[in-house]
Structure formats: structure tokens, C-alpha cells
Amino acid sequence: MELMVDSAASRTVVIINPEGLHARPADLFVQAAKRYDAKIEIIKDNERVDGKSILSIMTLAAVEGTELKLEANGHDAEAALEELVALVSRGFTEL
């Protein structure tokens, strides 16, 4: 029997797209995050917001060059972070 193990993971990313984490990129981020069961949070300095809430993400005002820490908690935490980091790192362009 395969055991479902909750795992926690965190990664750091930098926003590289010139318009920052505004509505459209935040939407893409949330769309991706919602494909996973893991709880996902974004940390900027001392602020921590729900990675599945577009409005909360937008309030971070993460402009180009901002460093964000992504934290995931859940059985698919690693996979979630992998996709999200890739999304941010390529500037939210479509693959």
C-alpha cells in the first residue's frame, strides 16, 4: 500500500516580467495552483498570502525584480512548486 504523505516544500523565485504580478499573471498563477491539492502560500517580506486567491496575490504588489518565497503543503507539494516556479521564471508566457 502506498502511503499518502503530507510533504512541505519551499522555493524562492524572482518576478521577471516587466508588468509584475498583476491581474493576468496572477490569474495564471492561481489557475496553476488550483490544479494541486496542496495548500500554497506566497511570502513577500513579512506578508504571507494564499496562493489560490488572486486578490490576495495582487495586494502583494510584486513588481519586476521582487523576490517571492513559495511554500506548499500537501501530498503534491513538490510537483506544484515545480510548475509554479517554472511559470514565474519564464515570465508567465505560455509554453
Binding site: I54, A61, V63
Partner: protein, 580 residues
């Protein structure tokens, strides 16, 4: 608590619930729901959100299909916002814990987000507040559905907060329930100001943007004395204003005791106190205040219905009502005084870059004589019912005055031919509100029965300042010595020629100027009806030699600031400043 500073345009203090009008004219209903309705209201919220999501999705699909997927992206983001769990939780919490209506809760939560975005340094993110307002509007539209309440269907007292109010909106208001106005734009001469004065409710205009910070149902204080608006006041502020309202009520009751006493100075010089009105029903307010007549009856409201040009009978009914009610007191009816842009029945001017210097008022009437003749016929027909006087606005040259009088003579001839009765000796006068008219006043007074000095426009044209333009509005100053000298000059000419003169701008309603006005020779003041008792009280305390001394001293001053300082000092030092 949030305090705004605007321009005070109608005095008084009102405390009450906000009715917020955005461009789509929403009224967000009362904010509380019954405790046992909470479950039902939560379901209604969900249905509203789902309907909104569907609507956005449809929009996205249409746009993406027609313009390409990248154009649908912003709707995709909007959709994501409507689905935002955190947002939904925050809204539901307000409904559950504070018994807020879903509309009010949505508005509160979304406006909080909008505010956060507006405060962000990134201009691009700050722009996102527009998205939030857009979503708010959509959700509210879905929540309210057909229950959207119009201003005419108010059922409880409110303070109306809007970006701006159009004449047709204010005309449709249910007057019984509107207790005050606040608009983001506008100046002392704005339509809102005139309507508020007519309704005798406080109004503050030109506050700048604030509708994003307020939800319908919020507690608001409108201080029409100081141009202050307080959103969601704290308890101490609320108590302070409530005491103020109470004190005002007491004072007004005491003023009312002067109603049947004559308006005359302490040394027995008779003063006529007349009312400025816009709507026929305002004669009641004039009569209640013991006014000596109507010094300025603005007739523009008759032209504001865009669907039809007012017929002669529409004019006649309005004038007949006012004249009958006021008889035998004089009623000065001013002919049409708006810009061509304001009325749809006149051909629109081609090149109106400076509306205040353009085709308006008497110029418009002389250009559209059919329109003008209709109004004059109605006034003349009504003239047999009371003491009517006809006044032409914005006269700047003697030729204009003569042309207007010629049209009038022509209309009289028509009536005579048709054997329609009218008062052949109806007095004819002009507004003196253009500096050119003051300069040439010695000629004008030979051709009119009376003049009325319109200070609002006179100030604007003398100082070359648009009082509705926030950037230059401070230059618009009734205390400016240039303006005061023009008024004094006009008064000298009238008194020499024994032509009766009144003053009907906002200045006449301001007790600060009363002594000076009497000092330069005015014996007729036309004021907003609500100001009649207070101006009467002030007149009854003044003695003419003192007023003349004030006028002489003002003549020596060189700036608006000095004039105002001096008049304030005199007002305070007056031995009977607060007595009745």
C-alpha cells in the same frame, strides 16, 4: 472615520445614511438584514456571484472568439476574482456576523480591495482598482436585478453622494427623503448647489474623488457650513454634530419670530428682502419666511426636459402659479439663462470652446427668437395675475437690450391683435453681471425700469475665473475689491437715475456683506429663501451711517484678503452680533 473638504454651497448640517450613485445610478439598499434571513441572504449572494461568473465567462468567450485569446485574458482574471475563496469568505462573514445585506457586504469588501490597490506604488497595479469597481458593479447588478431602486422611489431619508448630478436626476428626486448632497465635482454655481438651496438642504460639492471609499448605507455627515463631509464618523464627532443640529433648530425657531416684523435698519430705513427661486413650489418657502416678493425667478428648469420643448402653456402654468401665490408682491421673472449646450431644443453651436463666453443666455434667446417669443408671450399672459417683472440676463451691450425689448414689443403687439389681456406696463429690467454693462451703466439705466446685479457671473467675468475649475476656484472671491467697486459704481448710477436696483447673487445671502451692501446704497436684496430670516435679523441691527462708513473704508482696501479680514472684524465687533 474619513473627512473630506469640499466647497460649501448650501448651508445646514445633515446626518444620515449614504445613497451612493455611480455612473450606473445604483442605489445600494439599507445595509442590515434580519437575523433569520441570513441563510437566505447567503444563498442570494451565491446566486449573484454565479450569475456574475457566467456573465464574465460569456464575455470572455465572445471577446476571445472575435479578437483573439489574449484579449479574453482580462476577463479570465475577473472570473478568477469572482471565484476567489478568500473574497467570498470575507463577504459571507460580513453577512453572517454583521447582518449586512449582500449588496452592502460586497461593496464594503471590494472597495477595501480597491483602496489597497489604489495605494500601491506600482501605477499598473493601482489601475487594477478599476477592475474591482467593474466587478463590484457587475455583482451588484446581478444581486439587485430588477430591484434596482431609482431616486424617485426612495422610501427612507438619505444623503445623496454622487460624482455629479444632472438636472434631470435632481428633478426626479423624491424631495421628502433627500436630506443632503455631496458631489465629487462642481462649484458654487453648479446645478446641485442651486437645487440644494431651493430644497434648503445642505450640500457640499467639489470634494474630489471619494465614492470609492464609501458604500451605500454608510453613516455620513454633510456640513454645508464649512464644506466638510465626514464618512463613517466616530461617536464623539457624531455627538458633536448632533448637538450642532439641535442648536441650529433652536436658532431657526427664534429667527422665525422675526417673520412678521418689517425688514428695516435700526434707524428705520426700509429694506426689501426678496427670494431667489428656481421651482414654482419654492414660493411657499418665500411666503413662510415673510419675503417681500421674488427677486429672481430662474426659468431654466422649464427647458430641461430633453424630450420636448416647453410649450407656451407649460411656461404659463408655472408663471401663473408663482404670480398668483405671491400677489401683490413683485415677481421678477428672468428669461432663459443657460448655455446652448444645456438645452436640446436649440441648434447646437459649432465651436463652443468657451461656453461661458459663448452662445448662452440672452444671446441664445436673440438667436432663437421662436423660443424667446414663446417665453415672453407666457410671461405677458400671466402678467395680469399679479405683479410680474421681466428681466433679461447677461446683457453686455445696449444693442442687445434694445433687441430684446423689440422682441418684447413685438410680442405685445401680437397679443393685442389677438385681444389677449396682459399688463402693458409690465416693468422691464436687466441683469447687470458683465463688467461691460457696469462700465456703460449710466446709459443702460435710461432704458430700463430696474436692474438686478448678478454677482455670481459678475465675479466670474471680472476676475476671469471659472468657479467650477478647482485649480482656479480660489480666485473666485466675492470680497475682491475689483468686484466691490463695480457694484458700488452700478449703485451710484442707479441711485442718481432713480432706477430701482437689487442684488441677487450668493453675496446677498451672506451676512458678512450686508452692512457693505446697504452702505453702497442697496435697498433690495434677493436671497435664497432660507436666508431671509437671518439677513432680516442683521438688517434690523444695522444703522445706515455705520454701513456707509463700512463702505467708505472698504473703498480704501486693495485686496480680497484685506476686505474679508475687515468685514469679519466688523461683523464680530458689532455690539448686537448675536441678538434678535
Amino acid at each position: 472615520m474619513h473627512k473630506l473638504q469640499g466647497i460649501a454651497v448650501s448651508p445646514g448640517i445633515a446626518i444620515g445614511e449614504a445613497l451612493v450613485m455611480d455612473r450606473e445610478r445604483f442605489r445600494i439598499p439599507r445595509r442590515m438584514v434580519a437575523r433569520d434571513a441570513i441563510t437566505h441572504e447567503l444563498e442570494r449572494l451565491l446566486r449573484g456571484l454565479e450569475a456574475t461568473a457566467e456573465e464574465i465567462q460569456k464575455n470572455r468567450d465572445t471577446i476571445a472568439r472575435e479578437l483573439g485569446p489574449q484579449y479574453g485574458a482580462i476577463f479570465s482574471a475577473h472570473l478568477q476574482m469572482v471565484h476567489d475563496e478568500q473574497l467570498r469568505n470575507e463577504i459571507s462573514d460580513l453577512i453572517r456576523e454583521h447582518q449586512f445585506s449582500p449588496e452592502y457586504a460586497v461593496s464594503q469588501v471590494l472597495r477595501r480591495y480597491a483602496k489597497v490597490f489604489q495605494a500601491l506604488e506600482s501605477a499598473q497595479l493601482a489601475e487594477r482598482s478599476h477592475d474591482i469597481f467593474d466587478i463590484e458593479k457587475r455583482i451588484l447588478r446581478n444581486l439587485l436585478g430588477h430591484r434596482r431602486e431609482e431616486l424617485s422611489q426612495l422610501t427612507s431619508p438619505v444623503l445623496v453622494l454622487a460624482h455629479n448630478l444632472t438636472p434631470s436626476e435632481t428633478a426626479n428626486l423624491n424631495r421628502d427623503f433627500v436630506r443632503g448632497f455631496v458631489t465629487e465635482i462642481g462649484g458654487p454655481g453648479s446645478h446641485t448647489a442651486i437645487v440644494a438651496q431651493g430644497l434648503e438642504i445642505p450640500a457640499v460639492v467639489g470634494t474630489g474623488k471619494f465614492l470609492g471609499d464609501v458604500s451605500g448605507g454608510d453613516m455620513v455627515i454633510v456640513d454645508g457650513e464649512h464644506g466638510v463631509v465626514i464618512l463613517q464618523p466616530d461617536d464623539a464627532t457624531l455627538a458633536l454634530y448632533q448637538r450642532e443640529v439641535e442648536a441650529k433648530r433652536t436658532y431657526a425657531a427664534r429667527l422665525q419670530t422675526l417673520r412678521d416684523l418689517p425688514a428695516e435698519t435700526a434707524d428705520g430705513v426700509a429694506i426689501e428682502l426678496l427670494g431667489n427661486i428656481e421651482f414654482p413650489h419654492e414660493v411657499t418657502q418665500c411666503l413662510e419666511r415673510g419675503s417681500d416678493g421674488v427677486g429672481l425667478y430662474r426659468t431654466e428648469f422649464l427647458y430641461l426636459d430633453p424630450s420636448r420643448e416647453p410649450t407656451e402653456d407649460v411656461h404659463y402654468q408655472a408663471y401663473a402659479h408663482v404670480l398668483r401665490e405671491m400677489a401683490p408682491r413683485p415677481v421678477t421673472i428672468r428669461t432663459l439663462d443657460v448655455g446652448a449646450d444645456k438645452i436640446t431644443h436649440a441648434p447646437s453651436p459649432e465651436d463652443e470652446r468657451n461656453p461661458f463666453l459663448g452662445l448662452r443666455s440672452i444671446r441664445l434667446s436673440l438667436r432663437n427668437t421662436d423660443l424667446f417669443r414663446t417665453q415672453l408671450r407666457a410671461i405677458l399672459r400671466a402678467s395680469v395675475l399679479g405683479n410680474a417683472r421681466i428681466m433679461f440676463p447677461l446683457i453686455s451691450t445696449i444693442t442687445e437690450l434694445r433687441q430684446a425689448k423689440m422682441v418684447l414689443a413685438d410680442v405685445m403687439e401680437d397679443l393685442e391683435e389677438g385681444k389677449i389681456p396682459f399688463n402693458r406696463d409690465v416693468e422691464v429690467g436687466m441683469m447687470v453681471e458683465v463688467p461691460a454693462a457696469v462700465t456703460m451703466i449710466d446709459h443702460f439705466v435710461r432704458e430700463v425700469d430696474f436692474i438686478s446685479i448678478g454677482t455670481n457671473d459678475l465675479i466670474q467675468y471680472t476676475l476671469a475665473v471659472d468657479r467650477s475649475n478647482k485649480d482656479v476656484a480660489p480666485l473666485y472671491n466675492p470680497s475682491d475689491p475689483a468686484v466691490l467697486r463695480l457694484i458700488a459704481q452700478a449703485m451710484r448710477a442707479c441711485n442718481e437715475a432713480s432706477v430701482s436696483a437689487s442684488l441677487c447673487g450668493q453675496m446677498s445671502s451672506d451676512p458678512l456683506f450686508t452692512a457693505w451692501l446697504l452702505g453702497v446704497g442697496l435697498r433690495q436684496l434677493s436671497v435664497v429663501p432660507s436666508a431671509i430670516p437671518e439677513i432680516k435679523r442683521v438688517c434690523r441691527r444695522l444703522e445706515l451711517p455705520y454701513c456707509e462708513q463700512v463702505a467708505r473704508h472698504v473703498e480704501t482696501l486693495d485686496s480680497a484678503r484685506e476686505v474679508k479680514k475687515y468685514l469679519l472684524k466688523e461683523q464680530r465687533q458689532s455690539p448686537h452680533a448675536d441678538q434678535f
